[in-house]
């Protein structure tokens, strides 16, 4: 029906408001605003007199410690990329935590047990972390591709297996573990990732690597045949099969890459030099699944599974967590920030609906202004339909 418009509109430059990325950005922004408002209300209820001061810390606290914001953003940026990348293929990598833990362990093992020249020791340790994650991503990948076992189930299990296995191996390793302190020794300085040297913060080269990796992923997804196959499979696996794409190989490859990203996250986290006690350089085997893996899911969701979007959402979540920690100065529990983040994620799950609403508003305005009829607008309904379908698919997967 839109045929008569022909191709005359293809040369027109797109306005920013017409770009899909813009509306997913604004909808994420809306989710954030709603989440923050909700957090403010909770603060008001918890302790009215300090609410304004506390909220100011949440909003602005991160600014004064932006180096630390980046320091804490590094691991969740990596796990976020891991989840987002698998998601593009239609796989839900809930196993980021296990892969992250394996990454930490492999990096630690190389750091303590190998004797390498100081100039390359830290790099080898990082690569070892990547290898650990790859192995832990490979397992659900091979189960999915050869036996069609749902990756959500296997990767939940690998989370536990990974965590207990690592705890066991660390406790039984007398070279690393200090029983009296229930943690490992600190990573020797020459294996630590080099600091960026910004005074008063813990920011290090980890964030630089993470940003480069995010850009690389963007290029892989957008410019390569592998990315083309990956996205095609994620959108429509029947068509991918019909086109002769090797689905089994791609599933394994995607999970291995996702695992590598999480593993790198673990290595970046554990090898980072830090003055914040317990946040790095040592592993505590306390039978808890690494939270940074699950934070990666939140980061990927808020970033719309887009590598560049994930950069911003990781930094944002880290930023607001810093603010939350500072809010404890006026008597608030840092858990308030977890609450706010939960609400933000909750609303960004509605992003599909909000995003189409935003586009509709702009579309209507444009139509009224200049009577430009853009044929793409009529896709909105279908877009929403398919996006909601995707969401349902995902939530079903989660339910499984």
């Amino acid at each position: 029906m839109q045929d008569k418009n022909g191709m005359n509109s293809k040369n027109e430059k797109k306005k920013i408001t017409e770009i899909k990325g813009f509306s997913s950005f604004t909808s994420a922004l809306m989710a954030i605003v709603i989440g923050l408002l909700f957090g403010f209300i909770v603060m008001l209820l918890a302790n009215p007199s300090n609410a304004v001061a506390g909220f100011r810390y949440v909003l602005l606290g991160g600014l004064s410690r932006f180096g630390d914001v980046l320091y804490f953003a590094t691991p969740i940026l990596m796990t976020g990329l891991s989840v987002a990348f698998a998601f593009k293929m239609g796989l839900f990598n809930i196993g980021a935590s296990g892969q992250y833990t394996m990454g930490m362990f492999f990096a630690l093992y190389v750091a303590f047990m190998f004797d390498l020249p100081p100039s390359i020791h830290w790099i080898i340790a990082i690569l070892a972390g990547m290898l650990g994650g790859m192995i832990w991503g490979f397992i659900p990948g091979i189960f999915k591709s050869l036996l069609n076992v749902n990756e959500v189930i296997t990767s939940i299990m690998t989370n536990y297996i990974g965590m207990y296995l690592v705890d066991m191996l660390i406790r039984s390793n007398s070279a690393m573990y200090i029983p009296s302190m229930t943690r490992t020794q600190y990573v020797p300085q020459h294996v630590q990732i080099r600091s960026l040297g910004i005074a008063g913060s813990n920011v290090n080269f980890g964030i630089v690597f993470a940003l480069i990796i995010a850009v690389l992923l963007y290029i892989i997804l957008q410019k390569t045949t592998f990315g083309y196959e990956l996205k095609a499979t994620g959108y429509n696996k029947h068509a991918a099969q019909y086109a002769g794409m090797n689905g089994k190989r791609n599933i394994i490859l995607t999970m291995v890459i996702a695992g590598a990203l999480s593993g790198l996250g673990g290595a970046f986290a554990i090898l980072a030099p830090s003055e914040i006690a317990g946040s790095s350089m040592t592993y505590e085997p306390i039978n808890v699944i690494a939270a940074n893996g699950f934070n990666g899911i939140a980061v990927a969701l808020l970033g719309n599974s887009h590598p560049i979007g994930v950069i911003f959402s990781a930094i944002f979540i880290s930023y607001i967590q810093r603010g939350g920690t500072l809010a404890s100065l006026v008597g608030y529990k840092p858990e308030i920030i977890d609450l706010v983040i939960a609400v933000i994620i909750y609303f960004s799950a509605f992003a599909a609906i909000m995003s189409s609403a935003i586009r509709r508003i702009f579309a209507n305005r444009r139509n009224k202004e200049a009577l430009i009829t853009e044929p793409q607008i009529e896709n909105i309904e279908e877009d929403v339909g398919s996006e909601i379908e995707n969401l349902e698919k995902n939530s079903n997967k989660e339910a499984e």
Partner: protein, 517 residues
């Protein structure tokens, strides 16, 4: 004066979607006791108009009247209350329920909170006899034929005392005999005072059964005509807006050497325990169109999936130009020379969320022409897409960067055809390539198939449409319950004979020819 006979009037209906007018000032008047055909190409606005009548959309302008009074239809329940019922193209029946249970579903008669089946049974039997529907109320849906299932759908409407019956492309799934029966039933219903809206693009059936016909084109109403005063040619001209040849022009085929040779193929079924394809053998030669005819669900889908590599065979062998591809992957088969226009274009043929240009290279993105060391050459892709769009006249909102989901069904199909025909191939496998398309698009696709044949390709066409089977093919193989039960010459056979083979009433032993040779 004008509304005395009309049971439903849709007056000056205008329904807009952002950027497009789906229904532009359309008026449709349905007389009591008539069969009124609604004819139009895909995307002409038929579905939108019916959705308005069903309360799924609210029109911007216009009103709906029943028996002369303005009514407001806000949702399908309102439509049901007004006595409007619909037989959908895809039946909405519970397979494991009996006919009776399906009919009363949603309006179960109860007595003190318990089901009262006796009363329902009495009414169903009575209705079934009155309209000659011949339905056994205790049969399970999964055990009865498609034609019978459709009659159950009709009974559902009658049971709900609907007076206005909408049939949405009802003959698409039926054999010629069943189509004939259905048309008789429709006439009977009309004689009993029911009013029927008959959505169809099959001109023969409209000519046979309808009293009047309203034609839509591109959202506009082209007028309502009395069937007795019109011809098929005039109707198709109104629908398409230009002269359309209803006959397929083609020369005699000049079959060359064998391209595809299938021997003893057996394919297991996913749905039932029996094999879907049983010991099938046949050849397709260069320069001929071989058509596999049959009623839906007799193993055609599985045959094609096994041929193209989407499913595994149990036994048998496949040769393309003398090369054994029985165990080859989809990609290897594609390289060996199979092009495949799949049955379900949205499920298999396209990545709907990809752009048109990305879809046009779906089979070729890995070739050196389009990639270098794993990086896609986007300018080459663009150039190639523009060439195909121009050559095959694929229309879309924004050219190569249009998201395919937003394109019309006909143009989606054109994109697939462009991709598959332009790819190097020896054998073109086309499965229901014209399904759901309008006359203009069908004409185009038939032309392309014949062009492919004349350029020396082998064409294997799978079709459920008798007209297509008889007009396009050079040789017909009829499939029934997984076996090839007849090989016919389209010039020497008739609708009736084909129908007998398709329904299993008649069969020849075809296998011997190939097994001996």
């Amino acid at each position: 004066m004008e509304n005395e006979n009309y049971i439903i009037e849709m007056l000056n209906i205008t329904k807009e979607f952002p950027g497009i007018v789906a229904n532009d000032n359309i008026t449709l008047r349905l007389k009591k006791g008539e069969i009124h055909a609604l004819l139009g190409e895909n995307g002409a606005g038929k579905s939108t108009l019916m959705s308005v009548l069903f309360g799924l959309y609210q029109p911007e302008k216009g009103e709906i009247r029943k028996n002369g009074e303005v009514v407001k239809i806000n949702n399908p329940n309102d439509a049901n209350d007004l006595g409007i019922g619909m037989v959908h193209q895809h039946f909405r029946l519970v397979e494991v329920f009996t006919v009776l249970e399906n009919i009363i579903l949603g309006v179960e008669p109860t007595k003190n909170g318990f089901l009262n089946m006796d009363e329902a049974r009495k009414k169903v039997v009575e209705l079934s006899e009155r309209y000659g529907l011949k339905v056994d109320p205790d049969a399970l849906i999964e055990d009865i034929s498609v034609g019978m299932q459709q009659r159950v759908e009709i009974l559902k409407m009658l049971y709900r005392d609907n007076e206005i019956l909408i049939f949405d492309e009802p003959t698409a799934v039926l054999t010629p005999q069943e189509i004939h029966e259905l048309l008789q039933i429709m006439k009977g219903l009309a004689n009993e005072g029911k009013s029927i809206l008959f959505i169809s693009h099959k001109l023969n059936e409209i000519m046979e059964v309808a009293d009047r016909c309203t034609v839509l084109r591109k959202g506009k109403c082209m007028g309502t005509v009395d069937i007795k005063d019109t011809t098929k040619e005039e109707l198709s001209r109104m629908m398409v807006g230009r002269e359309v040849s209803l006959k397929v022009d083609k020369k005699e085929s000049q079959p060359g050497e064998v391209v595809l040779s299938i021997r003893n193929m057996t394919v297991p079924s996913k749905i039932h325990k029996n094999n879907a394809v049983r010991d099938v053998s046949f050849d397709v030669r260069r320069g001929e169109i071989v058509c596999i005819a049959g009623i839906d669900g007799n193993g055609q889908t599985e045959l094609v999936q096994a041929l193209t590599g989407l499913e595994k065979m149990l036994t048998g062998s496949i040769n393309i130009c003398g090369k054994d591809i029985s165990k080859a992957s989809v990609r290897e088969r594609s390289i060996a020379g199979i092009s495949h226009i799949p049955e379900d274009r949205q499920k298999y043929g396209l990545v709907l969320d990809y752009t048109l240009e990305e879809n046009l290279v779906l089979q070729r993105y890995w070739q050196p022409q389009f990639q270098n060391k794993g990086f896609i050459k986007f300018d080459e892709v663009r150039k190639y897409a523009l060439r195909l769009i121009d050559k095959f006249d694929i229309r879309s909102g924004q050219g190569p960067v249009t998201i395919v989901r937003s394109m019309s069904g006909g143009n989606q199909q054109k994109a697939i055809i462009a991709r598959e025909m332009d790819k190097d191939h020896e054998l073109l496998v086309a499965v229901q390539p014209t399904r759901g398309l309008d006359v203009g698009a069908i004409e185009y696709i038939h032309k392309m198939l014949i062009e492919g044949r004349d350029s020396g390709k082998a064409v294997l066409l799978v079709s459920l449409e008798l007209d297509e089977v008889l007009n396009v093919s050079d040789r017909i193989l009829v499939m029934y319950e997984g076996e090839i039960v007849g090989e016919l010459d389209p010039n020497k056979t008739t609708d009736e004979e084909l129908g007998l083979y398709m329904s299993g009433a008649k069969r020849d032993d075809v296998k011997e020819i190939y097994n001996a040779g």
